[in-house]
C-alpha cells in the first residue's frame, strides 16, 4: 500500500490556544479520508499544514511522498486545494480565472486555455464562462473553485468544507462532482462538519475534537461503537406495548426495551430490513395496530455524542436537509 498522505505528531498552537495536539493521519493512495469535527476542532489547521500554507510547531508530514516543509514546491505540484470560501478573483471571468491559475501552474498558454475549457464544460459552467464571477451563485463559485484546484491534475485533493454554506441542491451537485473525482482514483482529504457528508463520501473517517483524534475507522466501524441497527415500533394503543414486545422478541438480537408513555418498542436487530417484514406480519396476525415503524441506524451524530459526551455543536438548521438514514414505513 502506498500512502499519499502521512502525518505524525502534528501540533500547532496559536498563542495559548492549542489548535492541534499532536495528531497522526495516514491516507492511502486512491482513498478518501473524511476529517470530521466541529468548528475549532483543528480540521482546517491540518489541511493548511498539509497544503504547505502553514507551518506546524512540531511533527512531520509528507504528501505524495514529499515533505511539506523541505519540499514545498514538489508538494504544491501534486496537490489541489479547495478552501472554505471560493478562492477566485471576483473581477475576472470564470475562464480568465482558470487560465490564470493554469499559467501559474506552469501550463503553456495553449494547455491552460484548453484545460480551462475542459473544466468549465465538466463543471457545467460553460454558459457562464465569460461572465464575471460577481454574477455567479454560491454553488457556481464553489464549482469554479473546485475546477481551479483541479487545473494541475492533482494526485491529492484537499477539500476543506467544500459544501459549507451551500443550499441542499448545490450540495448534492458538489457531492456528485466529488464522487466522480473519487471514482477516478484521486486521493482526497475531505474536512466537514456534516456527518452525512463524511458518511457519503469518505472511505475512512478521523474524528477530531479540540485538536485531538478521538476516533478513527470506517463509517460502519464508528457506528458499531454505538451499537447496531434498531427497529422502533410505535403501536396504536399503550396497552399493546408489552404484548408486542413479547411477540417480536424472537426477531431481535438483544432484549427489546419498551417505553409505554410513547407507545414504543425498541428492538435491536441483526438483519434490519427482513426483520421489519417479519415484525409487521407477526403484529398484524395478532391484531396489534402499528402507528409507525422504522429501522434506525446509528448516525455519526450518535457516534460523536457517545465519543465526546457533547453533540457536534453544528447549527442543525444549516445541516444537510437529507434527513436521517432510516427507512420509514407507515402501516
Amino acid at each position: 500500500m502506498t500512502l499519499a498522505i502521512k502525518a505524525s505528531g502534528l501540533a500547532k498552537a496559536y498563542g495559548d490556544v492549542i489548535a492541534l495536539n499532536g495528531i497522526d493521519i495516514e491516507v492511502e493512495q486512491g482513498t478518501v479520508l473524511g476529517l470530521l469535527g466541529p468548528n475549532g476542532s483543528g480540521k482546517t489547521t491540518t489541511v493548511r499544514i498539509l497544503a504547505t500554507l502553514l507551518q506546524a510547531d512540531s511533527g512531520t508530514a509528507s504528501v505524495g511522498g514529499f515533505d511539506v516543509v523541505t519540499q514545498p514546491d514538489e508538494v504544491r505540484s501534486v496537490i489541489g486545494l479547495t478552501g472554505q470560501y471560493a478562492a477566485v478573483d471576483e473581477y475576472l471571468t470564470g475562464r480568465e480565472n482558470l487560465e490564470l491559475f493554469g499559467r501559474l501552474f506552469h501550463l503553456s498558454k495553449f494547455d491552460a486555455a484548453k484545460r480551462a475549457t475542459e473544466l468549465l464544460d465538466r463543471f457545467d459552467l460553460s454558459d457562464a464562462a465569460d461572465r464575471g464571477i460577481k454574477g455567479y451563485s454560491g454553488g457556481m463559485r464553489r464549482r469554479l473553485d473546485l475546477a481551479a484546484s483541479l487545473i494541475g491534475r492533482p494526485n491529492v485533493l484537499f477539500l476543506d468544507e467544500p459544501t459549507t454554506g451551500l443550499d441542499p441542491r448545490s450540495r448534492q451537485g458538489m457531492w456528485a462532482v466529488i464522487e466522480d473525482l473519487i471514482a477516478e482514483g484521486t486521493t482526497v482529504l475531505l474536512t466537514t462538519q456534516y456527518l452525512e457528508e463524511a458518511d457519503q463520501l469518505a472511505n475512512r473517517i478521523v474524528v477530531l475534537d479540540h485538536g485531538n483524534v478521538i476516533a478513527k475507522g470506517t463509517s460502519n466501524e464508528l457506528k458499531s461503537q454505538v451499537g447496531g441497527d434498531r427497529i422502533e415500533i410505535v403501536v396504536e394503543s399503550a396497552g399493546d406495548v408489552a404484548k408486542a414486545a413479547d411477540l417480536i422478541q424472537e426477531f431481535g438480537s438483544a432484549p427489546a426495551t419498551t417505553e409505554e408513555v410513547v407507545k414504543t418498542v425498541l428492538l435491536p436487530v441483526a438483519g434490519g430490513s427482513t426483520a421489519i417484514v417479519n415484525i409487521v406480519r407477526k403484529l398484524d396476525e395478532n391484531k396489534i395496530a402499528i402507528a409507525d415503524i422504522a429501522l434506525r441506524r446509528p448516525t455519526l451524530d450518535d457516534v460523536f455524542l457517545s465519543l465526546t459526551g457533547h453533540a457536534t455543536e453544528v447549527d442543525e438548521v444549516a445541516a444537510p436537509a437529507k434527513g436521517r438514514r432510516g427507512r420509514k414505513a407507515r402501516s
Binding site: 478562492a87 473581477y91 475576472l92 501552474f105 501550463l107 483541479l150 473525482l181
Partner: protein, 282 residues
C-alpha cells in the same frame, strides 16, 4: 469524458530556471491586475482625477500666494508640475496597500500559495501592474501640465532621464506599500494606514512650497526627504525653477540621490515584503 486526474507527470511543467518562472509568473499576475482595471475603470478614473484636481487647485487657487522667485504665476506652474508628479507617485502607493490586504484576507492568496508558482511573483506582478497604471497617470498629468503652462526646457535626454526616475521611484516605493499591506488586518485599516505615512513625506517636502519658507528645524528633513529630492531632480532635468536653500548635498546631487533612494527602497522593502508574504499566517 476524459479523465481529469492522472498519476502521470504534468504535461508541460518543463524545467526552467527559477528566475525564468519568476518573470513568467509575474506577467501572469500583472495581467490579472490589469484586467481588473478594465473591469473597474472607475478606479483608474479617480486615480487620474485626483492629481489633475491638485494641478488646477494649486495652479489657479493657491499658487498666487506662493513665491518661487521671478516669473510669478507662470514660474509657479512650472515649479508645481514636477512636484505634483512626485505626489502622484506617492499617493498611488496607498492603492497597492489596500489591494494586497484585500487579496490576503481572501481565499485567493491561499490559492496562489498552494500553486507551484514563484511566491514572489504575487508581489512583483502586482507592483508591475501598478507601475503601468502609474506610467499612464504620469503621462496624462504631464499633458495637463503642458495645458496649464508647464514646459520642458532642457533636451530630450534630460527629460527622458526625469521620466525614468519617476518610473523607478514609482516602482520602488510600491514595495513599501506592499510590505505595509501584508501587515494590515483588513482593507479598512489598510486604507487609513496606507495613507497615514504618505502624508508627512508628501507634504513636508518642496513639492508645493520652497524649503526656505519652512521652519529651520524642519528643513533638514524636507531636504533629505526622498519626495523633495525627486521633485528637485525633476525640476533640474526639465529646466523648471529650483529655488534652493543653500548648498547642501541633497540640493547639489538630487538626481543621483533620487536613484540611490530607489535602489535603497527596493533593496530593503522588496525582500522584506517577499518574506512577509511567505510567512504571513504561518
Amino acid at each position: 469524458m476524459s479523465t481529469l486526474t492522472s498519476q502521470s507527470a504534468k504535461e508541460s511543467t518543463a524545467p526552467r530556471p527559477r528566475f525564468g518562472w519568476l518573470i513568467t509568473d509575474s506577467i501572469s499576475v500583472s495581467r490579472r491586475h490589469l484586467l481588473k482595471i478594465t473591469r473597474v475603470p472607475e478606479s483608474l478614473f479617480f486615480a487620474l482625477i485626483q492629481p489633475v484636481m491638485f494641478v488646477l487647485l494649486f495652479a489657479f487657487v493657491f499658487g498666487g500666494a506662493i513665491d518661487v522667485g521671478p516669473g510669478g504665476a507662470q514660474a509657479y506652474r512650472e515649479y508645481l508640475i514636477p512636484g505634483i508628479l512626485a505626489q502622484t507617485v506617492m499617493f498611488a502607493v496607498a492603492g497597492i496597500t489596500v489591494g494586497i490586504t484585500e487579496d490576503a484576507s481572501k481565499g485567493i492568496m491561499d490559492r496562489f500559495r498552494s500553486l507551484p508558482m514563484r511566491p514572489g511573483a504575487v508581489l512583483t506582478g502586482h507592483t508591475l501592474a501598478s507601475l503601468l497604471q502609474n506610467i499612464l497617470v504620469i503621462a496624462i498629468l504631464s499633458i495637463t501640465g503642458l495645458a496649464v503652462g508647464w514646459r520642458i526646457h532642457n533636451g530630450f535626454s534630460d527629460a527622458a532621464l526625469a521620466y525614468l526616475m519617476f518610473a523607478s521611484f514609482a516602482y520602488a516605493i510600491t514595495w513599501v506599500g506592499a510590505w505595509i499591506g501584508l501587515h494590515m488586518p483588513n482593507s479598512e485599516v489598510a486604507g487609513t494606514a496606507g495613507l497615514a505615512w504618505i502624508f508627512p513625506f508628501t507634504f513636508a517636502s518642496n513639492i508645493f512650497t520652497p524649503v526656505a519658507t519652512m521652519p529651520t528645524w524642519l528643513q533638514p528633513f524636507v531636504l533629505w526627504n526622498p519626495v523633495s529630492c525627486l521633485a528637485l531632480a525633476a525640476r533640474k532635468l526639465f529646466g523648471n525653477p529650483t529655488p534652493l536653500l543653500g548648498d547642501s548635498f541633497p540640493e547639489r546631487y538630487p538626481v543621483q540621490l533620487s536613484f540611490a533612494y530607489c535602489f535603497l527602497l527596493l533593496a530593503i522593502f522588496a525582500p522584506l515584503a517577499v518574506r512577509a508574504f511567505k510567512t504571513r499566517n504561518k
